[in-house]
Symmetry: D3
Subunit: 339 residues, 6 copies
């Protein structure tokens, strides 16, 4: 079983602990990005996962490659070239203080990539699933075109396509997103979204749900999933449901809608170590479950348990095993010492 | 708008994380002190804030100056001289374990300062507000006299005077505090106190309130504010209301009493990163609101939101912007990532 | 008053903060082990506590000795020799993610110790209490024999014997434990156990208690204590009651059963900094209370407050004073800053 | 006395110690840039130094401002706007392994600055010296034009102009540098260069000097200075002479040529802590000496001693006092403890 | 081109900087071992290098695998199983204070490996060079046998065999080494040794050389190489020549003897960052040169330059590129900043 | 064999690495002081060494006690009381930049100690050597008197007295030192001094020696020793000879003068890690040699080798064993890895 994810990996620079940007003299340097995070999740589960992107030849680019290799991701299809690795600065929030992200990704090797940089016939050899997120086409017209090319090629080869809508308002407007994502979603089999994406990208609203209040309206989410399914003929729609109590405490659950039926997961009370990559780890879990033909309820439980664990892990990557996820999904969230 | 704060700034030596003094081989070295903390809050809000104090010429004294400069505080009126920078050692508590403070401030440059060290006519040029706390006069007879001189000068020049009672039992007795603060408070316009200060300094009690139980008795606090107002003719009395669940979790709110009416703020559930300086950040927020003629309810909401955020920030200083405070005061405490 | 504890002390290698093994490039290096932890607790309370063990002559062995000396434990009876210091790797969990322990203790100096390494007549001179745990005899046949010898000698000299059952399934089977511990417990006066040990070691069950659900069944625990007391004629049976909400939050209380009566402590809501050594700190507190002839209720309150504090302290050791424990046991768990 | 320096300040990201990029998971984050470094040197000497540049309004931009403020540089004339802070990654070399710099400065706020961003009439009020380096005009056509404007304005106002040639081959070609710098140097009074700049920028060669061999040819340097002086009518030409034994050991001296005469400094054997900013600290020292009308020999000794000390200091900035420099310039380089 | 190296990789625990074991509370955790180090060198040069060994399935074992993967080594032929990862503690020396190594490798997965763990037919598919060192057979009788099996298989398949004698007196006696290595060396084509190995392992002495005095006797080394070549019919004998001035300063060169002729390299004055792995990096460089058919002089220069650079790099691994080595080998050891 | 050392132990706060005070946000916290350093040296050599002093009861005082206990020093005779632990801030120099020390020791528990705090009859029970330095009496009149009392008591009991002159110009004037030390030296048997102390304290000069030039004049030192011996009838005079090349490189040797004859040690070229405590480690080595009746040449070689090693160790304490010292004294300073 082989999965391709396609997108940008960035250098993530974060002050240690809960220091603010204004206080720090050092940065924890890790790497992350929506699609790379999914690849790492899958590699940790033992899936053959390759990440496709473009990175400079210099040592900062090499560091990104090495990090992916370290966690078992196949990096042999990453094109090398361009000048810079995109950066995002992350200040971790706590209690009432929100996390802050400052993007510095303009002009990255990936943003300046062209159609010629990727040979999809080679990339897609022997592949079962192609995964991308709404961030990749948001990087610019060329990237949107490349993503479309990839979707066409994948469709041709009968590869399942999964997509996390992942709307980023700093990258494009809702109108731009709608136009581009509408075309791409025609190719997508499995659609993943958080509680706001459907509204931001496709102007589809969950009736009667107030996100900031933290109240979850099950019927509303089912309604959204139905609308999405109806419009794009997705085989599966998965929606994560985050209730933010504060930057330190969230509640976390999700719904999987497939074949006209909605499956809701357990809900977890999370003490957050690092919530960046939480959604991606859900995607990674869901793709794993799909690859292994889990039934719908087991799939959503696996994906949610996987992403619940991610919130306890520093960095973008979800470094857990299938066994770790199953232990939680099957019921032991007591956090007792394993010894 | 210009504000002067007057007091001592100390080197704060704290083991990293939750290590105890007995475990540490290194100290995080920051600076702090009730009045300096207020100056930094104000400078972060864009107010022209100058801190007046005395610091040695050597490099440890210079480090204190540089820290204040870094955060935009005007240090040009700090007198240089004396031998040592006062120190406080801080061991951060967690859960049921309380934080510990060991003071090592005797003999500091500020404690040995004399009337000649401060030229109030120069200092008060163009000033709108003069702020001090009960710590400064507690540093010794000379400092109490200097503070009185400053108050007299400020009164002469029509400068508004704000004072945080800030009783420190390791610096003086309740009787000493009562005698000195009674004289100083005759000059004060705005009185800030926590839930214990009025009792400790002026023997004024909130009827029916049990602080350790965490129960807040609104009527009792109004009663205390009325008594304070009656005795010193304060234009405003602000009282912070802390309910300590544990060293990790507090509830935090406050009351502003002015023109015969009490205004209570929202109450926040805090996951504490660092509670030292929490009260000072309330003072900073309140002074900002007064300078900008916020109405009473908005003032107390701004001050409480500001200080709620402080509890999530490492160190004595509250490094937030007006925008950060308003986001919280106006209702978003969900801690969602800003990106 | 003098106490001897006998067991292995290991090098504890833990990634910093909440990093996983897979993420770390550095390890916090401390030392710990059930019996050493008790010795440190007692030394902190001012009790003359000696730790008996075997450690290599090389510098890693010396580091273990130095750590114990630092905290005031008498190390003069530690035999020096052998090749290696046992190691345990600890990955700290958070929220739903459990802590992980990887033992690497085979072949340690202590595991290879022989009867000749310990001269119990000398060791027990002037001693009031001898403490061991179920870990020591689990280290191998020779260690089980040595422990038996020690118990016999202690009994001869009228030394009180305390034992924490401390079952470790990675060291021996339930059957082996039952056989060996049954013999040893005939010598024991005070038996300490957690909510699972009695079942694991002696096949004694608390009726109607579901540990994973976190429900505490008081009657069930009393029943277990009675069975233990009946079988081994213990003067005291103490059982700690941990309710694991998650790796970050636990509830913690305990019961002391003596002279036919059960005494339950207050229950604490713990925000966990480090739960390893939590049980040992309970043992240390209980032994202190027994040495000082506290009554049963005061004893269990002291032991539970001591161990509640331990959960807020990094590392295996409980570095609190009698005064710290009493402050909490007598009611102030508000975590207010001491200044 | 007031000095303006004009250029870009970058975030400097360096692995700790001697780790290579490929090994690091964290970066020491400081700020630096040729002209900012000179401003900090001067502020440390007590000179009123303002740094003129453009920086984003976000917190990474604010960190740059705060660092400069911390060290006493006047930041009130920095224009705020643009998207990113330029970055340079630095891997420190040791022994035979050279330091590596990877620039990531394209698209920075300063590179995208326009003529409108700087009001030179205001900036130059009360100014004695205007300092820039060859890096600023190398940032692009617009920046070269702005620099020329600044030079014209400074000339008009009778402000002395100092320029460090500072050729950077990654920013422009020798031909471009020659064209632009030739125009700018017509305005310059004091020209600072290292042993290669004259050749790289103006095609002027020191006869008979082999830089890689480490042999210093005094006559050759005098010859270069004469050619430079003849071409641009500089009042002073200062050339630093670095002999690189290895990345860890250098020999360091300089020559000042003025009024037809060459003055050579003492030569220092340096154990290098951080050589980045070494040339800038020489410029800072020389400007200080010129401002204080030191004679030629004293000037070059001060400048070289200042920069010798810089090589022992981590980061771009030379954080030494006039007294520190004089102690070394006057002869005590023994490094004995001052106590 | 593909190279197999076979041996043990250990967890290396080193206090940071120059701290002694007795001072440290944390360990830098890296991985290393003679044969793994060679594999990493080669992978950095772009060679397809696989490391063959046995490592536990648990996360400490996985960390070793991940580190190798990070640097591009093929880990697909590592057998997973066994209980522990061998450890070596390293205290870095400085000046007159020597580095100290404490081995804790007994009972490691690799030491307990058996013939069945390695399928040499699969391992040697498409391989050009097989490399091992004297450490691997020193791990025990079984490992010596496995190494012999590997040599036989390699010989059968016409694979070139390279061996670094690497005598470790803590693993076996000179007599044992002589017996085993004599058999193995019959298969070896290229023999690598330091200035003491020939004497320790084969009782072959360099006439008139006094190692501790640091005097290098060229004729003596040629004599040793001739004796080695005569006895085992090696195609190449390479001997590294280390002159230890102190733990901080060494001189480093080497000799390659082939076809009856000795080729001496340049000699480097090293300021040492980390000398562990210095010899291995020489081996890696030499193998690279042999693979690429460098002539004898170029080969020895490449190998010595590579290992000179290693001494400036923290950890066992030599993380340099072919370009880095060539820059030094071709003459620029001045350590000038590359920018 | 038992040794008493008497003096103050201070908290040493040092920026990490080579950071300047102005750059640091954290301090490495260790403890040190001339006499404590000697006690630690001796405890490391296996000598029963007790340190006599006064320290506060609070946790900072306890940290000092714990550090001494960790390294095996007997702390049972330290009086507990007073308010503060003296502090010294240390900025480590490099190359031409000198280390800086800022003392903040006024008002320490030890400085405020009184005669009643020390019961010399108890302290001196079973003692062979009493050691103090010129720092202790320099702490004030009371301390000078206590030191005199101690000397009288030691003399009465036939205890050998050793004294390191250790002149500190920030504590007292040369005149004060001369007056007090002259009285004390009448009791001293073994006098230790550096190359400047005799001049500073007793106005005794080495003829023809220029310290700053680094030239050592053997005859001059012998002359100084003779004068000292003549004036105070010392049995031994030991003088350390430091030649400061820079803060990074020193040459180090010493002379022992006894029974009319001078013995010069080998001279070591030191790469300095930390030179504070260098002289104290010499004293510790010399006292060890005297206790073990080494002959004069062996004594001075042992003392100098011991202190040469100290310069490679971070912190005030010399953490080496007798074996470590002998290895160097007997000739192996090559720093080869011990493995």
């Amino acid at each position: 079983m082989k999965v391709i994810t396609f997108g940008e990996i960035m250098l993530r620079l974060a002050p240690y602990g809960y220091l603010k940007f204004l206080q720090t003299d050092s940065y924890e340097a890790t790497f992350g990005g929506g699609e790379a995070n999914v690849a790492v999740s899958l590699a940790n589960y033992g899936v053959d996962a390759a990440f496709v992107s473009k990175l400079p030849k210099h040592e900062i680019g090499q560091c990104a490659v090495n990090t992916l290799r370290k966690y078992g991701v196949d990096t042999s299809m990453i094109t090398r070239g361009g000048d810079r690795v995109g950066i995002y600065y992350l200040e971790k929030g706590a209690s009432q203080r929100a996390s802050k992200v400052i993007y510095d990704r303009a002009g990255s090797a990936m943003q300046k990539a062209t159609e010629d940089d990727f040979d999809w016939d080679t990339i897609f050899t022997g592949v079962d699933i192609f995964h991308f997120t709404g961030i990749t086409p948001a990087l610019g017209k060329e990237l949107a075109d490349i993503t479309l090319t990839a979707c066409e090629k994948a469709r041709e080869k009968g590869i399942m396509i999964t997509c996390d809508l992942n709307f980023r308002k700093k990258l494009w407007s809702k109108e731009e997103a709608n136009a581009v994502m509408s075309k791409l979603c025609d190719y997508v089999d499995v659609c993943i979204a958080n509680e706001e994406d459907a509204a931001d990208v496709f102007d589809i609203y969950a009736s009667n749900t107030n996100i900031t209040s933290g109240e979850i309206n099950h019927e509303g989410y089912i309604d959204v999933a139905k609308q999405l399914q109806a419009r794009f003929n997705f085989s599966h729609v998965a929606i994560t449901l985050r209730e933010s109590i504060s930057a330190s405490d969230n509640r976390w659950s999700a719904m999987l809608y497939t074949k006209g039926k909605a499956y809701f997961s357990k809900k977890y009370d999370l003490r957050i170590t690092d919530r960046v990559g939480g959604g991606d780890s859900f995607g990674g879990g869901l793709i794993y479950a799909l690859l292994h033909k889990y039934n719908a309820q087991d799939s959503i439980e696996f994906a949610v348990a996987a992403s619940a664990l991610k919130h306890s892990i520093q960095g973008d990557f979800n470094l857990v095993s299938v066994e770790d996820v199953n232990t939680l999904a099957l019921g032991d969230g007591s956090g007792r010492v394993q010894r």
